[in-house]
Subunit: 555 residues, 2 copies
């Protein structure tokens, strides 16, 4: 997937200090220098016959944000110098949104879970300086939703007025990459549904369109799956730390209405120790000590994939999970398989001896069974890189591979012809750099030191070391939060605004990103998120945030 950019980046750099706080930056933007303010009766007209309810809801949220963001401009005086311009400004009384004549009218929620590469996020937005109606057009309600998101970022607040200084504004926009994601681990520590809702909202504000939900792992199994309810019953941290089917349906619906597809991951055959609580016979080396001999982190325990009963169980599990999630994608994980665990497991060794299979052959059978179940359910499998690079398993050509160990491994995966989602720990892991978390280890550092700054993620090159053909395999990328040291207490501060950096990189494309001019806009992202109830952190002293460029290294 090579980014196809229409570049008309006319005035944004010239009017840098007052540029509207768009994030991600549209691929084509031109702005003027005329002030416009919203009339108190400002309305968004939906000129779409049979418009779906989620579009009306998105319009309602946009109108709410316009009036409740109350984000003052990030300059000294916070907009007080704009007072005269505002009081002389013409009024903008409405935005009209409509679909292209040829467009089929479907809901945002339906379009959000379309095949990834067929989703159409494109839109055009025009705000004339005359005060006549603004116009938003798209080929899809998903595109209209992206445009509404952009529209809500165009305005600042001062003294009761909602205004822009930059009319006319002309935007033509579409993403460089189809996949902009965020991954959250809800197993190491549990997050209530309200935290997921807030995170999905924030994701949608920066046009992230995939929520990669690493819902279970060795530490807890919070997902209640019909037919497999004992897994959560015995493996969740508590009865109140479970995502019920109705919670899941709600999260999926909440996400889809915001243009986000929910890709669930049931990591197998590793990272499954907690399944031993319900099915001790399915898990090798469950809780064995020392844990470091058979796992990358405590507790040890991996599915006995050599056993037919486990293969069937896991395939059926994926069939059941596939029914819960409308996404075309389901991740079967596949990372950090610990061979020592199986070497020490008499059940596994007995079966291998009996069948004459190698462990790798058994893993191949297991993978074919689980991926076969996905295929039957109409799903495309997602796996971590080891399934391609470390194991010799049969994978369908459409398998999506997430490269996490190192960005240097992307080329090897692409050389094998698989599609890639950038998820590299050396650029996109939000948990790195906070020290080691295992106990009795005073000198312990984070395995993926140092902390990944937004600047590092933002300046990542998605096609480094790739040929033109290999580059077409890059679907996009995402930030990821593993939660050994995170919970509801620090979710927002760890994630925001950092995760917005990959959102822009993969929407706007690397050709248009600039770490120097991005910072003032990223301040705006953080400040606007706070106004909307997300605890995005300060990237600099407020003194710097109010003086774009002045705290740059060589300023």
């Amino acid at each position: 997937m090579v980014p196809k950019l229409t570049f008309a980046f006319v005035t944004v750099l010239a009017t840098f200090s007052s540029v509207d706080a768009l994030w991600p930056l549209p691929t084509s933007l031109s702005t003027g220098s005329t002030a416009l303010r919203l009339t108190p009766q400002f309305d968004i007209q939906v000129d779409v016959k049979g418009a779906p309810s989620d579009l009306y809801e998105a319009v309602a949220r946009t109108k709410t944000y316009l009036w409740t963001d109350k984000l003052e401009r990030l300059v000294v005086g916070r907009g007080s110098e704009d007072a005269t311009a505002i009081s002389n400004a013409k009024y903008l009384s409405s935005l009209t949104i409509s679909l292209a004549d040829s467009a089929e009218v479907r809901s945002i929620s339906e379009e959000a879970v379309d095949e990834l590469e067929s989703r159409d996020d494109s839109y055009t937005l025009s705000i004339p300086e005359t005060g006549s109606d603004a116009v938003l057009k798209a080929n899809s309600t998903l595109g209209l939703f992206r445009g509404l998101t952009t529209f809500s970022q165009l305005f600042y607040y001062y003294n009761g007025e909602v205004y822009t200084l930059e009319a006319p504004i002309q935007i033509t926009d579409k993403p460089a990459y189809p996949y902009r994601g965020f991954m959250l681990d809800t197993s190491r520590n549990y997050f209530p549904v309200s935290d997921l809702e807030r995170t999905l909202d924030a994701m949608s504000w920066v046009k992230i369109n995939n929520f990669h939900w690493h819902v279970v792992d060795s530490q807890s199994f919070p997902l209640q799956i019909p037919g497999f309810t004992d897994l959560a019953e015995k493996g969740a941290y508590s009865a109140s730390s479970i995502y019920s089917p109705s919670d899941v349906a709600h999260i999926i619906s909440y996400a889809a209405a915001r243009g986000i597809d929910v890709i669930v991951e049931i990591d197998t055959p590793g990272h499954t120790a907690i399944i031993s609580e319900a099915h001790p016979e399915y898990v090798a080396c469950a809780g064995s000590t020392p844990w470091a001999s058979s796992a990358n982190e405590p507790p040890a325990g991996q599915l006995r994939f050599t056993e037919p009963v486990v293969v069937n169980f896991t395939a059926d599990l994926f069939t059941a999970v596939s029914k819960m999630f409308p996404s075309k994608f389901v991740s079967t994980g596949g990372d950090e398989l610990n061979v020592n665990c199986y070497d020490q497991d008499s059940v596994t060794q007995g079966t291998l001896n009996k069948t004459g299979q190698t462990l790798e052959q058994a893993l191949d059978s297991f993978t074919q069974a689980t991926h076969g179940a996905l295929a039957k359910a109409g799903k495309t499998p997602v796996v971590w890189e080891e399934m391609v690079l470390d194991h010799n398993v049969t994978l369908s050509n459409d398998t999506v591979v997430m490269v996490w160990i190192s960005s240097e491994n992307v080329a090897a995966v692409a050389q094998k012809g698989f599609k890639v989602v950038h998820s590299a720990s050396d650029y996109f892991y939000l948990d790195c750099g906070a020290g080691g978390w295992v106990g009795s280890y005073p000198a312990g550092n984070s395995w993926c030191d140092p902390f990944k700054t937004w600047q590092r993620s933002y300046t990542f090159d998605p096609t480094a070391n790739l040929t033109a053909d290999e580059s077409k395999l890059i679907l996009g990328g995402q930030h990821l939060l593993w939660t050994e040291q995170s919970g509801p207490e620090n979710l927002d501060p760890v994630v925001w605004p950092r995760a917005a950096s990959s959102a822009e990189l993969f929407w706007t494309g690397p050709a248009l990103t600039n770490v120097t001019t991005a910072l003032p806009r990223l301040h705006d992202v953080a400040f606007r998120m706070r106004q909307r109830g997300v605890n995005a952190i300060s990237l600099q002293p407020l003194w710097c945030a109010l003086r774009p460029g002045v705290c740059d290294l060589t300023a």
Copy 2:
């Protein structure tokens, strides 16, 4: 100040998995294995004639915590296995608190701001297994407050019952070091009074007794000082980002009632750029560019300490500030003086030429004037290490020196005979490791990488490389939060529970600390803080927190 420890650490290691969640660990503790629960009418009897109102308030808060903490034991089942023991448990109906016969009855608030080394935090606490009254005794209301804090940590909650499994409990306790602190910078980013209140509460729960308030710096001047109100009027981030004299009085009173002395810092002569907003003529190289030529961070600007008008202004400022803060200590700062700034400043150079003084001689005069003003006001000066190690200024013998650049500099300060508060960036800086914050610097790392884990701070040796005599100069130490990348959004997660590690180190003393056995108790600190509304973060997956020791490195 050599720690004098009465060590009777009898059962704590043996009954490790059920030890009461005391933090800091008392210097002498013995526990049994009998269950006791509070009666619903549990009361705390104040057997102190003329007891001050802040003691009654502390008693009321303690009673509230006992019933509202609702902290379940951090074990699998969260206390469900204790149900039988609880239902068979005797009732504890009251705690009686009293002062030694010889004690003068004074308020906690008065005692909290006594001369540091004369504060008496000691107490004894006895909880019999028979269910007869528990007894807390001390020589001071401050000691009673410390004992109440301990008492509130002895109990867990399960199914409506507040209980301990470890009666009888006998505690004799006093701090190893007189200074246990926390420093917060409220200049780089502003914190509302409610954030300071919450932080002071959390500090008091771990027996921190000094709030080092780095209230102003080059970026903003939020402190409204009578007679100098133009500084905040022109230098605060906004009219709503100002600590008024009544705010300050409230914070001091709130802190003192919790056993905490508020040590204000007005950093001079560096870190004063913002004073130029009110008095441009007092500040050299204000806002000069490139900032890196005359400052360690933007904006540049330092007081023209060569000028008599500036000397008088600053001395008068300290006189006025001294009146606002009852503490015996006031910090005049003195770090990171940038000589280039003065070399380039024609006013400074003109005066030096005229007077024939060197810059160092002028700095000495300036320091004598500001410290003279403090002495007149009855205050002891606190300075950063450079005032001792990099400059040749006259300092009174009682000056307290905070060593921040490196813990390796402590010995040099002690060799000069000054008292030391450990504040070293290589152990106690909470902001380290989050990447660089200056703009246009994609590869920028944190100057004090890596992140300082709680384990690193906790295993710090306060008397490393010191002689016995030099060791007596160590007053204690503190964690510090510089807020270039912090604000209200991440205050709690950045600080807690990490800052509790120095609180225990300097209360309990290094001889009794153990990083392996500390972790389960530190989990308890974090969980209890959350129950009380402080967003302390998870140090591990909950799976580990519920299984003490099982996630240790070699477990």
